[in-house]
């Protein structure tokens, strides 16, 4: 029955639903999860990679720049890092748009784009795809972790409908329900950065598909404030740094390489 109202994104069903958007969210619920936690002095983002394998050439992210482009976590501007869940190609397109929006803001106002403004820009774009053009919506949910002088550290989540909200801790993608309840139990308002890192890694280890955490399946990033310059510092961890962090937290693999099942 719903079939009749599926093919056009820009029309309502008789029950007042927009099916294409719901289907987009369904696609996201099968994607690798992304988790974000806000603390007093920074934000932590972690994501589960789905595209893995021995034949994958990761030399780019192993040695390259600031890890600005991974599979799940991207730097949008020097003060905003985003984690994406959903259709990768759609996500890349949105990340590109967000980066341009951030630079346009910098060009006009000579300041880092405020985090909420960036989230709004993307959401305005996403909403357009649900109302005009007859094109399908973006099958991507994003978590934006950012800093601006107005509201300090902020974490936002946006979905294919073009709606967004601010969070203290949240999760999108596969097993996000489990992760969300774990976060609800464990999160404290005065959590420190170390506490947030610890919480994120613990929740990831419980909700991820694989048995142990490792840099092949995990992407990790933090956003803090440099103590001297007082400027936001986005740090997307390299695989070696992720492994080192996991070892420090006592969550790393003990044995040698475990082969990934495809």
């Amino acid at each position: 029955m719903a079939r009749r109202y599926d093919s056009r994104t820009t029309i309502f069903s008789p029950e007042g639903r927009l099916y294409q958007i719901e289907y987009a969210m369904e696609a996201i619920s099968h994607a690798g999860s992304v988790l974000g936690v806000l603390s007093k002095d920074g934000i932590v983002l972690a994501a589960e990679k789905k595209v893995t394998g021995k034949l994958l050439d990761l030399s780019g992210s192993n040695q390259g720049g600031y890890g600005g482009s991974g599979e799940k976590i991207f730097m949008l501007n020097s003060n905003v890092v985003a984690g994406v869940a959903g259709i990768t190609a759609d996500a890349n397109s949105l990340v590109n748009y967000a980066r341009q929006a951030a630079q346009r803001h910098l060009f006009t106002y000579n300041e880092d784009i405020p985090v909420e403004v960036l989230a709004q820009r993307l959401c305005d774009l996403k909403q357009g795809y649900t109302q005009y053009g007859g094109l399908r919506p973006f099958g991507v949910s994003l978590l934006y972790a950012g800093y601006d002088p107005h509201y300090n550290f902020q974490l936002y989540h946006s979905d294919p409908s073009g709606n967004y909200s601010g969070w203290k801790a949240t999760c999108v993608g596969a097993n996000s329900g489990t992760a969300q309840s774990l976060l609800k139990q464990e999160y404290k308002d005065d959590i420190t950065m170390d506490g947030a890192i610890d919480l994120v890694l613990r929740v990831m280890s419980k909700t991820m598909d694989s048995t142990t955490l490792g840099s092949e399946k995990l992407e990790f990033a933090t956003l803090t404030l440099d103590p001297e310059t007082k400027q936001p510092k986005a740090r997307i961890y390299r695989p070696a740094e992720i492994d080192a962090l996991l070892q420090k937290q006592g969550l790393g693999k003990k044995e040698e390489d475990t082969e990934m099942k495809s």
Binding site: T108, Y109, E111, P114, V117, P149
Partner: protein, 199 residues
């Protein structure tokens, strides 16, 4: 000729502009407010080019800026900080310059940044020049005011001390400029917002 002055002090910015509207040799109006209040902590004094006939430009542009700054504030729940507002205004002037007929307006932008607790003053002209300065002036009056401000300006001055320096500038302009304005409007912006000052 239109004249405006501004100076920073301890936690404030003081702006003064003449209040005359002129058509050839006639003073059409003597109580014009040429200092727009762009947001709770942002003031902008506007003036035309020396000898410019097109005084419409100044008001048009000033109102365009005022409404856009206000729109930003309404859309994003917080106002633009002075440095960012200055960049936006400068960008608008730079684009105007490269259009078929550019706006002929000079500006002094004074604001108090409520996130860093610092006063800021910017000098802008119709070419899209933007500089942050401790004190500034536009118009023929600037020839007198700037040397006085060079000598007497104190960035840590109190409001009273700042007003005393301003009075020096205004007196000198009255004394030496052939067509000197009679009255001035003086406004101040600080952590508590904007208020008008009686000289």
């Amino acid at each position: 000729m239109e004249v405006s002055f501004a100076m920073t002090g301890k936690g404030y910015v003081l702006l003064a502009a003449d209040t005359t509207a002129v058509h050839s040799i006639i003073k059409v109006k003597t109580d014009v407010d040429k200092i727009k209040e762009l947001s709770p902590h942002l003031l902008m004094a506007y003036s035309g080019e020396p000898g410019a006939v097109v005084s419409r430009d100044t008001v048009q542009f000033a109102e365009y800026v005022e409404r856009n700054i206000r729109l930003y504030q309404i859309r994003h729940t917080y106002p633009l900080r002075p440095p960012s507002a200055a960049s936006w205004i400068r960008r608008s002037l730079a684009e105007s310059l490269r259009s078929r007929n550019p706006y002929s307006v000079n500006l002094l932008l004074g604001g108090y940044d409520t996130s860093t607790y610092t006063p800021h003053l910017y000098w802008m002209d119709y070419l899209g020049t933007l500089v942050e300065v401790p004190f500034a002036a536009h118009g023929y009056g600037s020839y007198f005011a700037l040397s006085l401000l060079d000598r007497y300006h104190d960035p840590e001055a109190t409001v009273e001390e700042g007003l005393a320096v301003l009075r020096r500038c205004l007196d000198e302009v009255s004394k030496r400029l052939v067509v000197s304005p009679g009255k001035y409007k003086v406004k101040i912006v600080d952590k508590d917002g904007i208020r008008e000052v009686e000289l």
